[in-house]
Subunit: 334 residues, 2 copies
Amino acid sequence: MDNYNTLISEYRTKIDNKLDEFLKSQTIRSHYLDNRYPDSLFVPLNYIMSGRGKRIRPLILILTCAAFGGNIENALDAAIAIEILHNFTLVHDDIMDNADTRRSKETIHKKWDVSTAILVGDELIGLSYRSLLNTNSNRIEEIVKAFTNGVIDVCEGQALDNQFENRANVNLDDYMVMIEKKTAELLMISSVIGALIADASEKDIQIINEYSLNLGLAFQIHDDLLDVIADEKKFGKKIGGDILERKKTFLYLKSIESGNYVLTDKLTGLYESNDLSRVNEVIIIYKELNIIEQTISEIKKYTELANRSLLKLQNVKASSLLKYFADMLLNRGY
Amino acid sequence: MDNYNTLISEYRTKIDNKLDEFLKSQTIRSHYLDNRYPDSLFVPLNYIMSGRGKRIRPLILILTCAAFGGNIENALDAAIAIEILHNFTLVHDDIMDNADTRRSKETIHKKWDVSTAILVGDELIGLSYRSLLNTNSNRIEEIVKAFTNGVIDVCEGQALDNQFENRANVNLDDYMVMIEKKTAELLMISSVIGALIADASEKDIQIINEYSLNLGLAFQIHDDLLDVIADEKKFGKKIGGDILERKKTFLYLKSIESGNYVLTDKLTGLYESNDLSRVNEVIIIYKELNIIEQTISEIKKYTELANRSLLKLQNVKASSLLKYFADMLLNRGY
């Protein structure tokens, strides 16, 4: 286990270094020296990219590549491409969610303005493809296609998420589709691209796709849970943000489907109100309905499904490394 | 000439049909039947895409492919990819410019909201890559790289354009860099991708790049001119929109560099004022400074540069077809 931890730390350092190097090569020239380079774009772009994330998506890409015997040096361009793409989604989602902070820092549209945040997001998409295309692989066409499926699904997932806020009849099925597209898809393309770079077999790619789908579903439900129970400092976001934004989270929809009409009426009323103390009241309802435990058991279910896929892999090292990663990912915050 | 006109009409029909077919395949499923497909995204997306544009960029791609003896059926996926990408820029630029109408229809952020317009633009980027990747070519990697350069440059060009609005010291050099990235680049990648699909030589690609750069510069300066002198109905936009938005257009910057301090002081004063009659007063200054004629002569200069590049092509048919297209493009509206 300690070995895996060391390995993951090493990979994270490689990702950070590669990302710094790439961004520098793209944005170092100031318009004071060269009028082709707009500081108004590059300063906020470097600001968001300097907020170190957990690097979950590039790590899964590199771990998958390594697991199938690929050379991880060949996977770094694609790994940072996914991280850059992930940051595009954060910048644009923060505008739509009207979020003030991200990773304990002001969001771009608050610190600058909406136009700047739109353009930074757009530029990040372009840069993500540029880095991806630096990948040296004879399966580059499949890689770019998988990546593009990710771009499209993540937009459609975000559209579903926005749509849910104004729709009364959202159920847990709708929710699962939404989080598959909005969250799980980027983990799926990360693992698939890692496997493609390692030139894995179609069968292995299918297995890894299944693994990362279930991991992604577990990850998003876990994220919904953290909104309610996490340590604010560690999480970098305010507790109850989803509740204030009237997000139809797993916990909310599970409550609605509980059949306890007294409490669900109270819950929908709280979701519609502007009462600032509603976060605590919603959490009390979740506790009364035993939703926290049910959510944890759902996370476990998808984690186990992910791990079960891994058992189908011939490669034992791959299987145990990816299992370690899944467990690490889903034990943060509580 | 009549033959060329017929040919271009035929190509335009092929582009429209291909675009309809592709968009249908991506967005036809309603979420009432399949909860994976967000109407909230696809309805506005189809709304913007149904506003028939001039199809300049896909036409240039197809004409270039045909000019170099390529099969234009192979170029249609890439042609509509460029058109979809162009529409992404329109949707996001309209938010930043706070524009109410586009092609005589309400803009997406006005008819729906800013979040919808952001997401539609993002989805269009994804769909543009998906269509591009349908291209069957052994030079697909070069094609996707050229396309990605276009995405990045167009964002950086837009950032420069936004930045100019708040910067006092913008000159014509800065302006030329900005329009190269914001406008000419998409024409350049269109022609280069058309040439790549036809498997043209490096030398021919270089020539066609030069042609479309100069054509693109002429095209943007012409667009600036149309803002002042065009027929509103034909143009689909209000006259003087650039002036009301305080855009540092070719005409404005050329006036500032005229050395006539009395009139340039008046001009900068008008640009800062909120007086609604300022459009007419600005146009009067342009006329007094003879700016309209100087702008027309600048458009001619770049058109001739474009046409001069074509003389270097061995292929006479290619040369005359592309020359015809340049002339057609720059004789609209006045």
